[in-house]
């Protein structure tokens, strides 16, 4: 019997974006409301996992052509660089800076170097989760 995944595939295409944007929201809002890099990363990867379930690994890999092990490295590097940067200014390791800026489109908002660190966390979590799921899924 030939199975037909039309409904799940169609739903996945829509739900993927909902989850993904929710993940981004949770990630960005982390400094003020519950959330942050870790949960955001997990949610983002669960969005990708949904695609993997609906389609298959090969398709997803062509759609999202990301090498997840590289992602781990980039995330770690970003986190470490954020932490190490203050040392060049003469401040202790892991000093964060923040201030309020007026940006185009968004208007007045606060920017925080902790966000860069959290981005590192986000990338590592996505990278690790996807590496694990992908390697186990591909294993014969």
């Amino acid at each position: 019997m030939k199975t037909n995944d039309m409904i799940i595939q169609f739903t996945a295409k829509i739900v993927f974006f909902i989850i993904f944007f929710f993940a981004i929201h949770i990630f960005l809002a982390g400094h003020y409301t519950p959330g942050g890099g870790f949960v955001g990363g997990l949610l983002a990867s669960s969005a990708i996992v949904l695609l993997v379930l609906a389609f298959d690994i090969k398709t997803v890999r062509t759609v999202i052509p990301v090498n997840y092990t590289t992602l781990i490295g980039i995330g770690l590097l970003l986190a470490l660089a954020t932490a190490a940067f203050p040392m060049f200014k003469g401040d202790p390791f892991f000093t964060h800076y923040f201030d309020y800026f007026t940006l185009p489109l968004i208007g007045k908002t606060s920017l925080h170097t902790a966000m860069l660190f959290d981005t590192g966390v986000f990338l590592v979590v996505v990278g690790v989760t996807m590496t694990i799921i992908q390697t186990i899924g591909e294993d014969e």
């Binding site: 400094h31 949960v39 997990l42 966390v121 690790v128 989760t129 590496t131 186990i136």
Partner: protein, 802 residues
Amino acid sequence: MTQVLFIFIPMLAAVFIPFLFKSIKNVHTGWFVLLVPASLVIVYSTYIADVARGQVFTGSLEWIPSLGINFVSYLDGLSLLFSLLITGIGSLVVLYSIFYLDKKKEQLHNFYIYLLLFMCAMLGVVQSDHLISLYFFWELTSISSFLLIGYWYNRDKSRFGALKSMMITVGGGLFMLGGFLLLGIMGDTFSIRELIAQAPQLASHDYFIWALLLVLLGAFTKSAQFPFYIWLPDAMEAPTPVSAYLHSATMVKAGIYLVARFTPIFALSEVWIWLVAGIGLLTLCWGSFFAVKQTDLKGILAFSTVSQLGLIMSLLGASAITFHVDDVSNSIFRFAAFAAVFHLINHATFKGSLFMIAGIVDHETGTRDIRKLGGLMSIMPLSFTVAAIGSFSMAGLPPFNGFLSKEMFLTAMLAIKEFELFNFNTWGILFPVLAFMASVFTFVYSFYFVCHTFIKKRNEKYADTVHEAPIGMLVSPILLASFVILIFFIPNVIGDLFVKPAMLAFQPFYASAAAIDIHVSAWHGFTPELYLTLGIVGLGALLFSTLKKWQPLYQLWPQKFTLNHAYDMMMIGLDTGMNQVSRSYMRDSMRQYLLYMFTAISVIVITTLFVTDAFSFSFEGTAPIRLYEIILIIVLVIGVVTTLIAKSRLTAIIGLGSVGYTVALFFVIFNAPDLALTQLVIETISVALFLLAFYHLPKLTKINERMRFQVNRAVVSLAVGAMVTLVALSAQSQKLFPSISKYYEETVATLAGGGNIVNVILVDYRGFDTLFEIAVLSIAGIGIFAMIKLRLTRKGNGHENK
């Protein structure tokens, strides 16, 4: 400074030996080595006259000044005498070894490096005034003698003998270190001279007796006293120059030196006198008794060394009595000290020569078995003469030096029974009796050695093949033998130059060496000693002539009850016993180890709680319990119990999942939204991974079976649960400080520019932890990746190099 450097000259010279051996092939390396001890003899000879006048020389070299550890060379009569013996006999032994060891067949560089190392170590032992550096050199003698005994390392017996001597002497050395440390603690100094200065205070200290016993243990193991002598006969597997040097003249006398050196500290104790004199006498009898049993030439000499060392030791014990008599300068015990040092010199001369003769016999005939030898007198007349001189001196006959020291020994032993203190007037009678018996046996084995080798009926085939040793080999024994005779005729010169200054070191009652009024004379009138000597000769001759009849009696003693057997059994027992012990708990089962760990943790924690009386439960300030919490707890308990008693693994996995989600709900009702979010996602992922592992279980053994119930595991898990509960309750009830979370609450907006305290703590206040947590995650991810992708065995090439 230079005086300390003299000690190290042999060690420095040893560095050049391999180069000399490799580059200069046609000259025996020993000739170069000979320069070292020979020049040192000359150096130390220059001290003789000054030291005899009572002068002492000290030199020091800083080693670890911050700990007060230095090399201090202290030359008084005793250490000078030993230094001269070491370098003098060392020169003769090197000379002898040049002819004994073949320059083409033997690895001479190894031999001479070990020998020079040993020489350095011995000089260090006898000259060190600092206990720690003394110990340093002491162990160096053990190590270098281990190397020398195992010189022919491809022989089983050499390795066995080397290991045995190492075990016993190093073991004793470690005990001695303990004694030294106690001495250091008691006197607050490691300098022997300073310790001697405060000897009376030390004697009343609690540690005194322990220090005494430990130091004695070190001295007895090194000097092959009963029952530690067993390594010495096995050390005879060494090349003969080594036996002559280490096991007759120097190393075995390190213990003697130590006892003499420490006499002023420990002699105040009767334990010291009884132990040193008693063990010495026991060793003397034991060694002389069993020397007659041996059939190996070097075996006889080894046992005779043991017995002679016992003799010197017992004399040192008797000399310690002088610390308890009123009129020292007229006390008869002063002869004991004199005799001890005098016999030490004599023994070094005659035993060295006898070992060398045994080596010559071995070298020329190819055997050391006394049953195969005989009738060598006419073939090797020079060797025979030297052997006869040495043996007669050992037996205590005139006109050889052994006679003089044996007479003095008998004098001292006869005097002991007159001593009033410490029960010597009751038990002291044993001393002369045992000394007499031992002397008879000494007489017997001395004649046994020389007659059965040289005089007994000749083995016919030796007439053609055996000839006299080369003259170079004979020089050293002949020199030593001439000393044997010379000392008999000039005992008082030796006494004034060497013995009396050495006596001063452990008999500090005299103003100078010249004040000691001891005059040795070969003819001392019709004294009890003389009658004893006549008795020894008579009884000895009788026993020797009937040797064939009673020597087989030795075989009656069963092998099971010998000390060697006890040592072997101890080593095997330790080996197998330790194996059994570790096998009894190292079961290679993870469950066992977990059981040990959990048992240990819960027992330790619960007893600590009890002992420190840390239980106190108060429920003040606890929040009221709400309905939600009760419901959630019931769900949690159901989930846990399901996981435990589930029959199939799938049920257990789902039970575990339900526990995880309940925990997430707990986070929700306890106001931890971040945790709840993370917990939900993580629980989902881990349940999925569990299901994955479940799906891939092998089909063959997949039987759905409930976990077996085991009482011990149940008890341990209950104990761990109880422990955690008790600790949590006690900790909750005894909060000593308020939490620091107030600070975070107040500053989260102003200092960190955020609103979510949890996240701000994670990335800002304590970002450091997060940095390494993501590192942990990365390692886990890459680890999984590597484990799955990197499967070399599956591809058929098990080794990555293939």
